[in-house]
Symmetry: C2
Subunit: 310 residues, 2 copies
Amino acid sequence: MPDPALIATAEAPSSVGNVATGFDVLGHTLEGPKDRVRVERIEDGEVRLRSVTGVLTELPPEVAQNTALRALDALRIAHRLPFGFEVDVVKGIPLGSGMGGSAASAVAALVAANALLETPLRASELYPFALEGEAAASGGRHGDNVGPMLIGGLALATEDRLIRLPVPKGLTCVVVHPHLVLETRTAREALVMPYAISDFVPQSAGLAQMLVGLFTGNPDSLRAGLRDVLVEPRRAHLIPGFKGVKDAAMDEGALGASISGGGPSVFAWFADRGTAERSAPSMQRAFGRAGFDSDVYISPVDGPKASVIA
Amino acid sequence: MPDPALIATAEAPSSVGNVATGFDVLGHTLEGPKDRVRVERIEDGEVRLRSVTGVLTELPPEVAQNTALRALDALRIAHRLPFGFEVDVVKGIPLGSGMGGSAASAVAALVAANALLETPLRASELYPFALEGEAAASGGRHGDNVGPMLIGGLALATEDRLIRLPVPKGLTCVVVHPHLVLETRTAREALVMPYAISDFVPQSAGLAQMLVGLFTGNPDSLRAGLRDVLVEPRRAHLIPGFKGVKDAAMDEGALGASISGGGPSVFAWFADRGTAERSAPSMQRAFGRAGFDSDVYISPVDGPKASVIA
């Protein structure tokens, strides 16, 4: 039996990236599926994958391709650690779901490994390594999933800063995850055609109003902010039934609805939990009409953060 | 002598549009040059220009081309006014300066005309007509100059909403206006080449951090928000000496500096008035080294709004 001080296990929640108007910079966590990662300190200065279980049983074993390993390796190198890590991943979040599945493994691994350091880092200090892990999956250092997972709630996650944003009381998210896979890379390829500067103006207007809504609690500003005129129009066709699900949410009184991360999950925000609970079945039925079973999650927008559980 | 109730005069301040990261949606007014417009109710249902004096002595007399006339005509038509307006403009703000010169004539005209209505409108209700006026000069309905002029201070001015933003105490703007003209249309033509979605990510990050900085007063967020990676790189070459002026401001401790509106004026924000006053001469000298005389204005970011003066 190994010494317990050399082993830690952490969980990271799922998340909604982009949040309509904050492409690659806004995201919030969810009470819903989680990834759990057990990390063991090992003598040789390597990071390696021992096992994968849960909703997946295979992940790339190469450090460069595996979000958890790449994040831990970046931590190991930056802090010149004299030891390595061996990792067991229990996947709770499907990949290609738009719920931060690749990010959660990296964050859970980092939070567990951090507990094994002589001087653990603050969550925000783990952020650069989490960004590096995320790059293994998507090719880019975008923090809209790893950022909120590290600090909890709704985060503004830029290249070099991580800021937890205020969330009006009661604000509730519904996420419907249809049983189909949309690869992050496919979703990103839909955005390669360039944009006119004029396309950015309404998106900027939305982002600014989102921030105003969060700081003031004004629902009109949140409504105006939960509109994606840049990314959603190019990705919606990749998600069968998207329009029906979004319309269902809006008909039930959502402040706004759009694609969660790169999709195919669809999220909607509601001013209170009661409305969210009444709306979730309608959203799920709309995916059903498009031919897809789905899972539904209802969570505060101000969701949980990754934490050590053992 | 005409009946005084049929005549009103209003002033509108100059402004800084875009504010680095809020292309076409953020702007704030300045204590500095102003436009003054005298409006007289006339029997026939027309809007016409009677005189132009001040720093300019000619403006287009056609309604479609003249920002003041076009704004008043939009008001007249929307509210089915049974009378018209005759307008005298005293230009205090040069056109092509990047200080909202075309916008100010429209706003001053509207605010004066509003005083002649039986039931004057609220400032925000004048906004659609001000946008229509702005379109006479730039071809677009962007509110980053007319918006803050109508309500004062720093405004988020989207296509359909006008929101005054909180401004941390002491925040001060320096604007240096070099004696050269940069046509709004030329400045906009520099932006016709399309952008990649990835160009928008750091700009969004900046805009969101600007809003965080305004609501929290955190100077790090303001600093991160006062960065324009989208528009400034394409327009800087149109302004001789731009880099020197910006560097001068930053060396003196500015939170950030960029192009005011479409240029050629350059603005910088400072945390307090003292630093702004010490920095202004350095910025002006940098334009001097590029061969241009200039005017300099120092103003609270939370600047004045347009108002009736007689």
